[in-house]
Symmetry: C2
Subunit: 346 residues, 2 copies
């Protein structure tokens, strides 16, 4: 049968050698009181150099690790940040996660991750589940209503990415610069009719992008059209190729790169040359946006920076700054690649 037979369910893990040491063990070994151990470890300075060294030695000797739960139970602080993203599948969020994770760990915080699957209800459930365990919550592209967000924010610090909610700290890419660069470029290449593909209806960012595009078009005397996507994915982009083509637009700006890439693939499969017949511009500059042929022109959102900014803002909120402050804006910029350009006439 099996080679090593443990007796029943008793010894498996955690008892391999000794259970994890507590400050009591250290206290005994160092010959001091547990409370002194706690002080020595956490607020050196409130204790004599001598006993501090004694305690520290005992701690390493016993391979001591604080028990975060026990600490949290008493202090209410968990040194943990929660991050909820709309869709783990969507590469847009990878950089947000990276940014948040790296600044969190750099400040000795831990990140816990959940997703809302693009659903407001799921998102709220996930948030509620996280609440007791985290010191603060970062919501990337929230789908829940502003009131729900404010309710959460009343309990613990909340920072929102890609959306702006009155009374809550926010970090958003400022679409203005990138969009105007893009439209200048399209106008310079003779485009007169631009289609915008919208993202999810609850998406704050999609609304801002459409506003920006529409305004910039008006300003440049370009006609603008709006299309709705079924889902903000490659597949969603594919589905729109036919309609876009029929619309007579010579350039398309898609809510995100995924839509842009799907659209481009479908058009190319139908023999429509990009950018000779149609220029395509995405948003975000996700990983892989430059893998396509032609590489995708896109308006880059500094997502990693947004994640990092959000985590940093959170850390501020957790250390005394209690003003939600103004929304932090991160600049966007046009990344001009091959998928946009001059129309080939004739």
């Amino acid at each position: 049968m099996t080679t090593d037979d443990h007796n029943g369910a008793a010894l498996q893990h955690n008892q391999g050698g000794r259970a994890t040491a507590t400050i009591y063990d250290i206290a005994r070994l160092a010959g001091v009181n547990p409370s002194t151990v706690s002080r020595a470890l956490n607020k050196p300075g409130r204790v004599s150099t001598q006993t501090r060294k004694l305690v520290e030695a005992a701690a390493v000797e016993l391979n001591y690790q604080v028990n975060p739960m026990a600490r949290a139970l008493h202090t209410g602080r968990t040194s943990t940040l929660g991050l909820i993203v709309a869709d783990i599948t969507n590469p847009t969020f990878f950089n947000v996660i990276r940014g948040a994770e790296s600044t969190a760990v750099s400040r000795h915080y831990t990140l816990i991750l959940a997703e809302s699957s693009e659903s407001a209800a799921t998102e709220l459930t996930a948030a509620r589940r996280m609440m007791p365990t985290v010191d603060g919550l970062i919501l990337a592209s929230p789908r829940m209503g502003d009131d729900d967000i404010r309710t959460l924010a009343r309990e613990k610090p909340v920072v929102v990415i890609n959306s702006e909610v009155e009374g809550v700290s926010c970090v958003t890419p400022d679409v203005g610069k990138g969009i105007s660069q893009a439209l200048r470029s399209l106008a310079a290449n003779g485009h007169k009719k631009v289609a915008f593909i919208a993202g999810p209806p609850q998406s704050w960012m999609s609304a801002r992008r459409w506003e920006g595009v529409k305004a910039a078009c008006e300003w440049s005397g370009i006609e603008s059209l709006r299309f709705e996507s079924t889902e903000p994915t490659v597949e969603g982009g594919r589905l729109l190729a036919r309609d876009i083509r029929a619309s007579g637009a010579t350039a398309v700006m898609a809510y995100n790169d995924l839509l842009a890439i799907g659209l481009m693939q479908e058009l190319q499969a139908a023999g429509i040359s990009v950018p000779d017949r149609l220029s395509i511009v995405g948003f975000d500059d996700i990983f892989g946006a430059d893998f396509t042929t032609p590489p995708l022109t896109t308006i880059r959102s500094p997502l990693r920076e947004c994640g990092a900014l959000a985590a940093a803002r959170m850390l501020d909120l957790l250390t005394g700054v209690h003003d939600p402050g103004e929304a932090l804006r991160a600049e966007t910029e046009l990344i001009l690649r091959g998928s946009s350009g001059r129309l080939l006439v004739g």
Copy 2:
């Protein structure tokens, strides 16, 4: 005692209305003992239907949420899984994260995430930091030594992805099928000399892939060469273009898709046509592998499945199964796209 007398700077969050309710509050409201509340909520059946309903009503009334820390402190179980990936930057891990996260939440577990930045030391630190907070640890492409992994596994359940460690539960893609399919395809297209680009030296997966490629080459009478990469990224792939070209190989199999894509980009920039002059095959089938022109032929690893399998295995370990068992193998398969094919002679 008044319920709400906050003093000065005290009130910011968490006091906005009421502090989070405890079982004591429920007990008071329902007119029973706290311990009865605990039982009613956790082991319905050990309590009369009447009081159970009473308690449940009070719980929703107060919007009660258990405090996971307090529970964990007593029970030792945290309902949290830790996941450490080698590099958050690397899209390979996105699917692993997705898989693990979704099966974790489906079983009411929470996922906490950390990365090792491809460093054994960082990884061990992250693991140690997580240990007290999690019920189990999933290591995706671990860089630390097997002994360190076993030491961790002695404390709490550990599941390893993309590596096999004696005595520890493992989930690995089985490279055999995918590699033999790839080599059959290359052989059928007349290739006689195949170069393999290796990944990080500590990577178990890289070693297996090289073994598999070498063996399959011998079996098919194809000459095999091995190159070392500086880093398993697009940039790392670019750097090897010159050497690969000089080697006389007509096909390349790269440790991962990133290397393959970088190599392809650099070759194309130098005017070398893929696959007419050189066939390229990657590993993993990451997001974006089909965005390239030609789209990348690659040996798909079911990474999402691996993440899910690992989490599922972990949950088993946490509910009574204490045998590490055999390594779980997930099949790989060749995804034949445009970057590999027949050599254009002349």
